[in-house]
Subunit: 600 residues, 2 copies
């Protein structure tokens, strides 16, 4: 039973949904909450806001509810329902999936077009706003839901709806045009992988190739926002709207893999590498601008106005896994580990019913809670909200977390590659393995072979870069009961930024294994303000705290003066730390990841 | 002949437009270009875009051109025409002013309502969008144009149009409601000062008092954006959209002065003081966020994403002068000096036909020029543009620069207070003075008394804070030919930020007198990248350059590492500097105001 990503070729193969069961610990808890509370929460909100209802009785504007992309929320939820229902140990949602699939089918036009916001009486015409209509973007999520339905057997009839929409898109966009928001490209390739229909692959390739000629209608945000300023093959780095750029990159990798286009694959690899080297936050989050949810310039990485949209993190995990499968390079697992443990893990409330849209690394003032009944308005971060007017993130994490098992390992003819560490049972390459670990809180990993074939097999464990990098490889004819052990050193460490990252000059952060740490106001000593503390990097960080001093800066009329400020009577202080993914779970607070340091 | 601001009471009095002529130097050049090229440029663009034409044949949507505030551009231009025509040495634009006044009158409804975008067939109803309709905002600029027309005698009939609009607004908003964008408050008070009609003052006071109860319809930007989250009297600091906050503060000061409301005046004073201490850029610019053109939190002052809208700078000068007149505190002249010399002076191209909307303090990559014909799109800074889709700034600087003479001095019964330094002739308090100076390039100021009454008079010269602060005061019976000399030390100085300003930690800037300096790429030695330089603050800055070293950071896969980066082979370098207001006048370039320093 394949998962969301099943390339036809490549040095490593994706594992299927049924091959992995995460059995305990950090991610099992999240999968459990995701598969029950979060899914119910999404379904209830989509219903309450009328986004599901749009399908039920297709309504003409202005009675249709939600924005141009609200249809896609229903599709992402359906995709999540399929993965969750089918994954080993998942909760069952077959009936709801069937309902939503039936609604989608019922709203589909006879020519395959499906979008509840265009084309009907009183609505704008189809494809009248390629910049922001999101029609193909929605279709892309429909296609991915159809793929999930087909692969899992949960509401499998959705595949036909997806095929109708894909056929329509291929006819409509045979010669020219593309959507302002990428996403359909990667979906079309996956649909090709399910159906064998070559025209879906050809259409995806065409969409990728057409972008970059400034052919979209002009918009104040500029062509770069839409990745329409430079042909993808010629771009040096990811730019523009972060989620658009990442979904497009996913599609380009999918096209490259299926068509054997090494130049295109190489282009995306080097753009991603440069983006990681110059445009990525310590948490793995990307997107530095609130204005247009976009990448900033190289090294423009302000921690306070960090955008790091949750959807961009989902897309980064998707892209990293595509590149890992396409290249065999396990260091892409480092990227996924960082993003999973610091953005995805931070995104959702413990009860699964609230989430962050954007992820700050520096909360200066405690968040104001949205007044009851006003939850949909984006109240600027600092507390997770039950929903947002633009609410793409929770259904996105829902589908990712439900299918997480397909991201934690890979296989090939020789054996198994363990990419992420969590207690799990794994069946691949003829091996049945049990993984026990306290990760990410402890660094011990024990792989027990439960079953093995009589031929040699290779078991490869990714060693994270922070633990030295490389792989631990064991190859032999394994016998049941044999164990492979890895001990990853989880000592807290200081992390310093490249001097070109202006916004965190003179600061340091603390990491422990894969976890970025932060200082949160609720843990600090009385009277210690996080914005008036300097930490002492000459002293190794302890588990859970670092040493420093308080500044108590003088209050003056003007913050720029002839002499640098030296603290008058600095007092020593201990600064407790918690994992960044735990912040904002104990009420409104202030928080810093990057801590000013005592000048040496 | 009064200027734009003429309070009825206060320790200091505004000088009239006819009392001051700036005769040479920095500001005279700008006034000359402003009064000819810039005014013609604005008139031509308003005509070309149809914003003037909207008045000519009031058109129903969608044929009406421009955004909800385009009417106000015509009014601000008319105001500028009046000041320019009437100021000593100004260019004549009486005919154009008459034309525009006639157009405004012709578009006014019989009940006094005037806005070309609401209320007609196919248009949204009047006052159907208080958040963003900008109807009273436009009326405010109409009123200010009417005041200018009345005081200068240039198209004086515009006063009647303004009165009709004011009477309508007072009737319509007698009981409740206010505009999402302040501006009408300060205008109503000035109209009261011209006409004596008490209801205009009462209405302004009501508008100020009503704000802050969260009564505007909800919007994603939140009530703070509109200064509707907290009553003005209770606010601690300026917050939300910067221009809105500043225009509202102007109106509040005007109301406070005319009604003797010391509490209200004190509230604005302390909010402004806190804003200067915590939320203002070194240039005097305000507004740290592109997303909503708003103030950021305290000390959130990123130089790269500095917004510092030109209109916010105009409003800051307006506010500072109101507070100076209301309190007699000449240090408000320091604020105006900083903003005038570093934001207003930077805003407009040398030929007067292009301008900055927002003012960055850190340009990382050279600007891309907008393609010809696409000038109206906001192309993100770095080069001044001929126009913008939202184009409030150039007509705003036009009216400010045309009336600049009324901001450079004040008077009272005892004498004259010289606030800003420029070659000028000044008639006030019975004195006729000639000021000679090389300011801001040289610090010499010579005031020659041409005529004086036979009674004692006081001549007060503001000493800028950077020169030690305070005033130079001479009081006696002056004789013609007597001179008063001031020598302000214009040595370059290092400036260091408060340690709480995260984004420029570890940096220093250079100032010379009132001028903030910057490093621009076009002046640097070959191969020296501004983002790879550290400057040596142990060495005093020379005129025009500082010493430093180049970093040449290693290129790595990930910009966060276990050890702070120390330059491998730093090379000494000289970093030439130019005044910030001169940047981006020699083609696309990179630029920094805040320069990373060699750690001590």
């Amino acid at each position: 039973m394949k998962g969301p990503l099943a390339p036809s070729r490549g040095p490593l193969r994706a594992v299927g949904l049924h091959q992995v069961q995460i059995t305990g610990g950090f991610w099992a808890r999240r999968q459990a909450v995701n598969g029950t509370a979060t899914i119910e929460h999404c379904a209830a909100w989509l219903d309450r806001l009328g986004w599901t209802g749009n399908f039920r009785e297709p309504l003409a504007t202005p009675r249709r509810r939600g924005r141009e992309f609200s249809d896609s929320e229903v599709y992402k939820l359906t995709e999540a329902l399929a993965w969750e229902t089918a994954r080993p140990g998942g909760a069952g949602h077959r009936a709801l999936a069937e309902d939503l699939a039936a609604l989608a089918g019922g709203a589909q036009e006879s020519d395959g077009y499906l979008h509840t916001g265009f084309g009907r009486d009183g609505q704008p015409p189809r494809y009248s706003d390629l910049n922001f209509g999101h029609e193909l973007y929605c279709a892309g999520h429909l296609l991915q839901a159809g793929v999930a339905a087909a692969r899992t057997g949960v509401a499998p009839q959705l595949l036909d709806v997806a095929r109708g929409a894909a056929d329509h898109a291929c006819a409509q966009f045979a010669e020219r045009g593309f959507c302002g928001h990428p996403g359909v490209e990667t979906a079309l390739v996956e649909l090709y992988r399910v159906t064998g229909q070559e025209r879906y692959l050809a259409q995806a390739a065409a969409f990728v190739a057409r972008r970059g000629q400034r052919s979209l209608p002009e918009h104040e945000f500029g062509w770069r926002y839409f990745q329409d300023d430079t042909p993808l093959r010629k771009a040096r780095v990811f730019a523009g709207h972060a989620v658009r750029a990442l979904y497009l990159a996913c599609g380009a990798v999918d096209v490259a893999v299926e068509t054997g286009d090494d130049e295109l694959l190489g282009a995306v690899r080097s753009q991603f590498a440069r983006t990681l080297a110059r445009r990525t936050y310590l948490t793995g989050g990307v997107g530095s601008r609130h204005l247009d949810e976009s990448f900033g310039e190289d090294f423009a990485l302000p921690p306070d106005r960090s955008y790091s949209e949750t959807c961009a993190a989902v897309a980064t995990v998707m892209l990293a896994h595509r590149l890992l499968l396409a290249t065999g390079d396990l260091t892409y697992g480092d990227v996924a580990e960082r993003v999973l443990h610091n953005v995805i893990a931070a995104a959702v409330a413990d009860d699964g019913r609230a989430f962050f849209y954007a992820h700050t690394l520096h909360q200066r003032t405690p968040a104001e809670l949205a007044p009851a009944g006003h939850e949909q308005l984006r109240f600027g971060g600092g507390q997770r909200a039950p929903w947002f007017e633009v609410s793409c993130c929770l259904t996105n994490t829902a589908r990712l977390v439900a299918s997480l098992g397909t991201y934690v390992a890979t296989e090939d003819d020789e054996g198994v590659q363990l990419l992420q560490y969590a207690p799990m049972r794994l069946d691949a390459a003829g091996l049945r393995l049990e993984v026990a670990t306290g990760y990410p809180d402890a660094g011990d990993v024990t792989v027990t072979v439960l079953e093995a074939p009589p031929q040699p097999r290779t078991v490869t464990l990714r060693i994270p870069a922070w633990a030295g990098g490389g792989s631990h490889v064991e190859r032999r004819v394994f016998a049941p009961g044999e164990q492979i052990r890895l001990d990853l050193p989880l000592r807290p460490r200081w992390t310093f930024p490249d001097p070109r990252v202006d916004a965190v000059r003179g600061c340091a952060a603390v990491e422990v294994g894969p976890l970025v740490m932060c200082a949160e106001s609720v843990d600090q000593e009385d009277g210690v303000a996080l914005d008036e503390v300097q930490v002492d990097t000459a002293v190794a960080p302890e588990a859970g705290a670092v040493k420093g001093r308080t500044l108590r800066p003088a209050e003056r009329d003007w913050p720029y003066r002839r002499n640098p400020e030296t603290p008058e009577r600095p007092e020593p202080v201990v600064v407790p730390l918690v994992p960044y993914h735990r912040w904002a779970r104990r009420g409104p607070s202030t928080m810093r990841v990057w801590l000013p340091t005592i000048p040496s």
